[in-house]
Symmetry: C2
Subunit: 365 residues, 2 copies
């Protein structure tokens, strides 16, 4: 069952772990060797229908007892009731402190099941099995877990590292097109904040990416994970540099909230947010206009939204209010991640209100 | 406001903190210096009525904005709904990542507010202000936080260390007698598992303790905290030695569950559990009969229960079933902490069923 994979190590001392990327990658035999005899596979109904039975067979092949807990697909499942559902499933399946939680799915499942694993019996072993591009390059790596409250996203959670991340590239083949494309936004982000070479590669290979070419996509996923591993290794708890990963997210989160969760996919909101951040970067940090335009052009080439509608879109005032309420800026002015050039960004930037409003005007169609 | 205190350091690398014990001890100025501008004081209605306003005044004196969140007294508040209530209060008060949660109360409030602090915005600063003897010597120190589910106690939680523990000895004066005496059970425990000198002191000073003599009690609380700090410093996450702290708790938890939470106080159940564990220790580990008898005698001298009623008490079968379902033994036979002598104990002991049943028969009246 185990196949060739690219392995990337996230260096966090005694919490270090591998991200394994490749076709047919599954949780490794190390899991049985930890003494885990039981595992709960948490998934949403879409992913469970395709991959749930296969994962169960794989884990039983490792001599583990398994059970499955299935939640509805979508952001609304990152909730207290779904968290309780997982706890009850884990208790019914008899999971003890040596057992494992397997998060099989996209970002929602990874965040939800990750938080459940962080808190069930004060923390049990977690294996992340991301089945969406977004989860592979972003949410499954780095230990952020959490759920939403009525007041906003990710207001409750924990930093809790998985023991392994298994990114089976074959699962991308079954991802709905809109979900897949949405994940490309986070890929673009790594190019802008960290790696100009990666950005140029994305420009060159946009076609292969959209065709979900397994080799090209696998290499790009691996590079994104390397970057995230490097950043998280330096700043696990988001005391500083990890904030770079929020490029495009300040406006992005506000857009998601204004649209109502689910109406705009996370990556779509981040794509718009990155075009906005590029405009702010040009005005505030001297990002060359040509590079600003390349950011917008790549986002458009990948089929991602690069602006908001002047008719049906949210007002600047509403978005600005949502930014002030964001947990990263609660009680103070929002800080932005801004690019000085493609491949080099700065975090913690305060920006004058006029610059923000003018930048927003430029992304309204 | 700051008064002389005994300071005990819990050594946990960059998570080290002080336990400050003394009359009138309050959260220190360091809290303001961390940049915390807002604090949520979590308390139950009994404690809030006596100490809530005073704590609010103190924190405002440190130039902090404050809000209070009050939950009903009792174990039933260690629940998901009360956790959500704290989250909503924290959001309404505008707590950001630099803010602090102050757990003002006994073990229930400490566990509940501690878990809220561990998970709100993925973790904010926590100050434990224990106002019960049990919380001072046990639950406020060491980072165990959590809530109960319908299936059992502390099934959900986190290891999350406070930034400071402030044990104001004056608060013990307002503690109901039954609550105070219940806390003495955990004090006796430290003597049995770790420190024969402490045990002898408790035998000598039982009268002073029951009279709540501030000096004698303060010294004893400090010694208990030193022992707990030493154990937690070696084994923060309960991989091994920390299990010693569960002396008397295996049967104790089962008794609490059988009685329905709240009917038997935690310390009362632990007291009975310790008498039981002493019987098992005598049969299994050679604890001298004279030392077994001293354990029972001290528990009785302190006004704690040392047995169960043969008429109205739970059956051995029911208790044995509850032990198997405990999270510490889920999926395997229960392990016990047993004493080889007063001051020296071993954890992880398996015990034959006959010995358990015979020991239980000896504590039925």
């Amino acid at each position: 069952m185990r196949q060739a994979s690219r392995d990337i190590k996230v260096e966090l001392g005694d919490r270090s772990y591998l991200i394994r990327i490749g076709r047919g990658v599954r949780p490794g035999e190390w899991l049985r060797e930890t003494g885990a005899r039981k595992a709960l596979i948490v998934s949403d109904s879409n992913v469970d229908a395709i991959y749930g039975a296969d994962m169960e067979t794989h884990l039983r092949g490792l001599a583990m007892d398994t059970a499955r807990c299935v939640v509805p697909p979508g952001e609304l499942s990152k909730s207290v009731p779904m968290l309780e559902k997982i706890y009850h499933s884990a208790l019914a399946a008899g999971l003890d402190r040596a057992s494992a939680m397997v998060a099989l799915g996209g970002g929602v499942v990874g965040d939800l099941a990750g938080f459940a694993a962080a808190t069930y019996l004060r923390g049990i072993r977690l294996v992340q099995v991301p089945t969406s591009l977004l989860a592979m390059v972003d949410s499954s790596v780095g230990g952020k877990t959490g759920i939403n409250l009525a007041e906003g996203k990710n207001l409750v959670g924990a930093f809790y590292q998985p023991s392994e991340v298994c990114a089976d590239m074959d699962t991308l083949g079954t991802l709905p097109a809109r979900e897949y494309v949405s994940g490309l936004a986070e890929v673009v982000k790594y190019g802008v904040i960290w790696d100009g070479m990666l950005f140029r590669r994305l420009e060159r290979e946009a076609g292969k990416l959209l065709a979900r070419d397994t080799d090209a996509t696998g290499e790009i996923v691996a590079r994104c994970c390397e970057i995230k591993a490097e950043i998280v290794g330096v700043d696990e708890l988001e005391a500083g540099m990890r904030a770079l990963l929020n490029f495009g997210h300040t406006l992005g989160h506000a857009l998601e909230q204004a649209a109502g969760y689910g109406a705009l996919l996370h990556g779509e909101a981040v794509a718009i947010g990155m075009v906005f951040a590029a405009e702010v970067s040009a005005a505030k940090r001297g990002l060359p206009a040509a590079e600003r335009d390349r950011i917008r052009a790549l986002i458009e080439a990948l089929g991602l939204p690069a602006g908001v509608s002047g008719d049906s879109g949210p007002s600047w005032g509403a978005l600005r209010g949502a930014m002030s309420a964001d947990k990263k800026s609660r009680g103070s002015r929002p800080r932005f991640v801004l690019a000085d050039a493609i491949g080099k960004a700065a975090f913690g930037c305060e920006v004058e209100e006029e610059i923000l409003e003018e930048a927003y005007a430029k992304i309204v169609r």
